[in-house]
Symmetry: C2
Subunit: 353 residues, 2 copies
Amino acid sequence: MGKINIVKYPPRETWERVTKRPGGGASDLDRVCETIFEEVRREGDEALRRYTRHFDRARPEFLEVTGEEFEEAARETPAALREAILLARARVERFHVLQAPREDVTIHDHGIRCWQETRPIERVGLYVPGGSAPLFSTVVMLVVPARLAGCREIALCTPPRPDGKVHPAIAWSARACGATRLYKVGGVQAIAAMTFGTESIRRVDKILGPGNAFVTAAKQRASTLGVAIDMPAGPSELMVVADETADPRFVAADLLSQAEHGPDSQVFLVTSEEYLPERVEAELERQARALPRGEIIERALGTSTCVVLRDREECADFINSYAPEHLMLSVKDSAWWIPLVQHAGSVFIGNYS
Amino acid sequence: MGKINIVKYPPRETWERVTKRPGGGASDLDRVCETIFEEVRREGDEALRRYTRHFDRARPEFLEVTGEEFEEAARETPAALREAILLARARVERFHVLQAPREDVTIHDHGIRCWQETRPIERVGLYVPGGSAPLFSTVVMLVVPARLAGCREIALCTPPRPDGKVHPAIAWSARACGATRLYKVGGVQAIAAMTFGTESIRRVDKILGPGNAFVTAAKQRASTLGVAIDMPAGPSELMVVADETADPRFVAADLLSQAEHGPDSQVFLVTSEEYLPERVEAELERQARALPRGEIIERALGTSTCVVLRDREECADFINSYAPEHLMLSVKDSAWWIPLVQHAGSVFIGNYS
């Protein structure tokens, strides 16, 4: 439990192999997506209900969450959690409101005025994965920017639990953040529904949000059918860069936090401290024992690696050769590192030592 | 010659049919793309040369434009054209420099600082279609923003002419705007080359630029293979909205300017002036006779329509139901129209009467 590959001083020509992403089997994904899309297009809600029974073991009465269910969700979401969600909403709002498009893109030339105006996308469809953890933070991070942008319809799809309901904190967050519809449909069938429209679900202009390999393949299919998508979000990835000031306990905790996302997650420790991988591995073993998602972690760590490189310049090159979704800088001199990061979805900087 | 469909007062439930986009045959596109991608992945330059012989009837000695060819292009591009391209470059620069990302997206909260930094994409691959017209304006509009963004490598692919060269104005514009490489490869094989890399062409991080249905399908395939794309650009589209102040001669000229892009182009006149379609059609017939691309125009107008609606409110709804790539407002009161436009790639406003 907690075993991870350790590679010391790999030559550059081997980096591509060391950082190979797990996955494959794309042809199977495509075939599954094609079938589900075709059935949803042809049969609408009927197909959605069939796949919801099959994949989610659920038989919801209505595919859309009703007013009554929202009230129930409010009662069932503890006050402390509701408060935490509102705090998160406020922070996410403060950040995204600053991203509002510039109003000052205008040039005049020979009596011609050229300018840029942006318009909100009218109907967006947001996808929130289900599974074992209720991802209400994903609800907040998807719905708030859509609302700030001024989207008129903000539909949210998420798979129901076997009792035919969505987790109360998901329902409560959706309403609190301003989603206009919440549907109990997940997976490829949800993406197909938002692409074609069904009796219950209106088609949308753009689909956004994370998902597993099937949802990603479904979004890519949607993008060939006249619906825009944000990006093909893949499995979770994290690189932790650590120097001699990093605490192996926190490095291990960070690695586990992403590894537990799914069996196809991939995490790396990148360091020039030769002693660090063994210490981090010992911590991974100790901490993983206390976590409920042991099997997922085990599989994710199987394609994960602690890499020792000669110096921080080489570490920076290694990061950029992989371009991780998340990058954690656990170093004393983050100002040296930041300008060197060429690609990364998000960068966390912290040193808890 | 110049015949166009005319539809007066179509009920709303028929709009979808009236505005149906031409196209289809997607399965064939996919099959062609799959074959070419696989061959380029496996054989590299060898496959590029084979398809260049096949589609472009060209046997270039090198796939990359050399220094000597650039010098020749400079000699062969008339001074007046070079000056015009430099003027266009300056205007495009003035506009895009204003789009630089905001530097002020930062919040502080409980000792945590969250901020946004953007990075240029390192390697972009730009596609400039070939065919009968040398699209040097496309070169300017693709290369200038990439250079302003700070992309390190700006590769440009365009099909060669049968003599194995690219049009001098294309080569000259590419260099003048700051492209770092210019390749004589077009079509699906160009997109595949930029996706996988070959002996001559380096793989890129993102592919941008217009193209025909094959290039669009190829870009969509690239997006499932780890390369980002700008968007699935389709055939050219234009809606001209005209009121009683519009001059039928200019309306017809605008419609023809897009119709001549390709046989799959689609154009619309949208008006509440019942007399206008017949006058515009007469102008289309008169002007089309003088144009060299008669057959292309004929076919494009076959799926194009002049639509008369009850009032301008209905016209605005009609525009938004279609969401044209280009919208031309040939009206006296453009300030009334602009806020109502929900979707359109670009809007031109002008009234030449």
